[in-house]
Assembly symmetry: C2
C-alpha cells in the first residue's frame, strides 16, 4: 500500500477517498491534499480527510507514492501537464473521472516515462457535491472500475487495487473503450433522460399548476438532473459518441411505447411486464439498499 | 365523517386507506372490506385494515355511507355496474385510480341517481403492491386530488375531503381533464421513460457485462419500471392521448440534448444548469423526504 498519497481536488469524491483511507489505514498512510480554493483544503483537513495541506500542485505530489486526481474531468489535462515534471519516478497516478478514453489519452501525452497511470472510476456518488457531504462510507460495496494505462507497472496497478479495497469497494479491471460504452448506458443516458424530463415538464405553461402533484416517482426519475452541471457537461464532452448512440437506442424504445399507447394496444401489458421482469432481475442481483 | 365505509379492493392503496382511517377514527367508523380473493380479505382483517369482511360486492356496500374503490382501474367499470343497484340512496362513491376522465364517465353511466361519485387520486404509492406492504403512513403529507362528479352533493364531496384529511393527506379539487393532463406529465411520462430505459439497456448484447456497473443512479431513474405492469397498462389505456403528447415533448428535449452532445457544444453546461435549477427549485418547494 502507498505510504504517501496526494489527493488533488477535495470535493465529494476526493474528500470521501481521504476519509475512507484514513479510517482504514490511520497512521500507516500520510494524506497530502491540494484544492484550488484554500478554504476547501482547510475544511478537508478539519474534517479529517487529509493530514496536511500543500498550496501548490508541485509540492503536493512531492515524494508521493500515489496521486489521486479528483478534480472536474476537463481540468485533468492541465493538471497532468503541471504535475508531470514533479512526479517521483515509479509513482502511480489515478483519477476518479466518469469517462476514461479521453483521460487515458491525456495521461499518455503528459506523463513522463516511468510514471504509471491507472485510471479509476468508483460507481458511487450523490447528486450533490462538495467536501461538506464527503462520507467515509461512500464507496462501501460499490463497483470500482480500474483501467490500467499502457505500460503501467504491476506494482502501480496493485497500489490502486489496494486503494479500492481500503475504501471498501470491489475492483473490476476493464479497458477504457469498454468502460465508456458501458457507463454511457447505465449512467450517462439516465442523466440525460432525467434532465430532458425536467425540461419537458418545467417548461410547460402548465408547470406552476402541475408542480404540486409531482411526487416521489417524479423525484426519483429526475434525481440525476441535480448532479453538478459542469460535471455533466464534462461527461458529454468526453463521451459524446457513446451517449448519442444510447440516446438513439432509447428513442427507439420510447417510440415503441408511444405506438402501443397511441393504438391502445393490449400488448402494452406485456411490454411493461418485460421491463418489470428485467428490472427486478437486476435489482435482485445488483440492487443497492439506498 | 362517514360511519360505515366499504373498501372494495384490498391491495397497497385500499389496505393503507383502511389502516390510516382506523388509526384516525378507531371506534367511530366501521370498515367493511371486499377483495376478489378471500385470502387477501383475511389478511387485511388480520392486519387491522378492515373490521369485517363481506364476500359479495352487494353485501359489502350495504348501508355504506362511503364506498372506496381501490381495485385496478380497468375493473372499475364492471364493479360500478354491479354495485349500482345495491348502493344506499345519498351514498358517496370514490376511487383511487391514477386517471380520472374515463372513470368519471363510467360512474356517470353506471350509478343510480342520488348516489354521488367523487373521484380521488392520492399522489402517493410505492413501486411494489399488495396488502403486505400496506402502510398507515402512506398518505402522510401527500397531495390527494379530488374530482367531484357531475351532480355530486356537497355532503358527498365533504365526506371524501374528510377521508383525505383523516388519512393525513392534503386535498386539491380540480377537474378530470386537468388532472389527467397533469399526471400524464409528472407521473405517467416518468413511468414510460423508466420502462424504456430498462428496455434499451437490458436488451443490449452488452448488458450481461454492464449490469454490474449500474448503480444508484440507474436504480433511481428506473424505479417506476417496477410498478405493477397491469396498473401501468391501465394507466396507458385510460390516458393515452395525454401521455403521447408528453412523450412527444420529451422526445424534443431529448433531441435538443442529442444535438448539443453530438456537436460538443459548450452550451451543454447551460442546458444542464437550467435543468439543475428547475429541479432544485421544485425540490425546495415540493421535495419529499423519502
Amino acid at each position: 500500500m502507498a505510504r504517501r498519497v496526494a489527493i488533488i481536488g477535495l470535493g465529494l469524491i476526493g474528500g470521501s477517498v481521504g476519509l475512507a483511507l484514513k479510517r482504514a489505514e490511520s497512521e500507516a498512510v500520510e494524506l497530502v491534499g491540494y484544492a484550488r480554493r484554500p478554504e476547501t483544503a482547510d475544511r478537508a483537513r478539519q474534517l479529517g480527510a487529509i493530514d496536511r495541506i500543500e498550496s501548490t500542485l508541485a509540492s503536493a505530489v512531492d515524494k508521493a507514492d500515489l496521486v489521486v486526481l479528483a478534480t472536474p474531468t476537463m481540468s485533468i489535462k492541465e493538471i497532468l501537464s503541471q504535475i508531470g515534471p514533479h512526479l517521483p519516478a515509479a509513482c502511480a497516478v489515478t483519477d476518479v473521472a466518469s469517462t476514461k478514453v479521453q483521460v487515458m489519452q491525456w495521461a499518455e501525452e503528459s506523463l513522463p516515462q516511468g510514471v504509471s497511470f491507472v485510471g479509476g472510476h468508483p460507481m458511487a456518488g450523490k447528486e450533490l457535491s462538495g467536501i461538506e457531504i464527503a462520507d467515509a462510507d461512500l464507496f462501501k460495496g460499490c463497483t470500482y472500475c480500474i483501467v490500467p494505462g499502457r505500460g503501467a507497472s504491476e506494482a502501480a496497478v496493485q497500489m490502486v487495487v489496494d486503494l479500492v479495497h481500503k475504501v471498501g469497494a470491489r475492483h473490476v479491471i476493464l479497458n477504457a473503450a469498454e468502460h465508456d460504452r458501458f457507463v454511457a448506458g447505465i449512467s450517462h443516458l439516465p442523466l440525460i433522460l432525467a434532465s430532458a424530463l425536467v425540461m419537458a415538464t418545467t417548461q410547460s405553461p402548465q408547470w406552476p399548476k402541475m408542480a404540486d402533484f409531482a411526487a416521489t416517482g417524479y423525484q426519483s426519475t429526475t434525481r440525476l438532473a441535480s448532479q453538478h452541471p459542469r460535471m455533466n457537461r464534462d461527461i458529454c464532452l468526453t463521451n459524446g459518441e457513446n451517449i448519442v448512440a444510447w440516446i438513439d437506442e432509447l428513442t427507439k424504445e420510447l417510440q415503441r411505447f408511444r405506438t402501443l399507447i397511441a393504438e391502445g394496444d393490449l400488448g402494452l401489458e406485456q411490454a411493461f411486464e418485460r421491463a418489470w421482469q428485467a428490472r427486478n432481475a437486476w435489482i435482485e442481483e445488483h440492487g443497492k439498499k439506498s
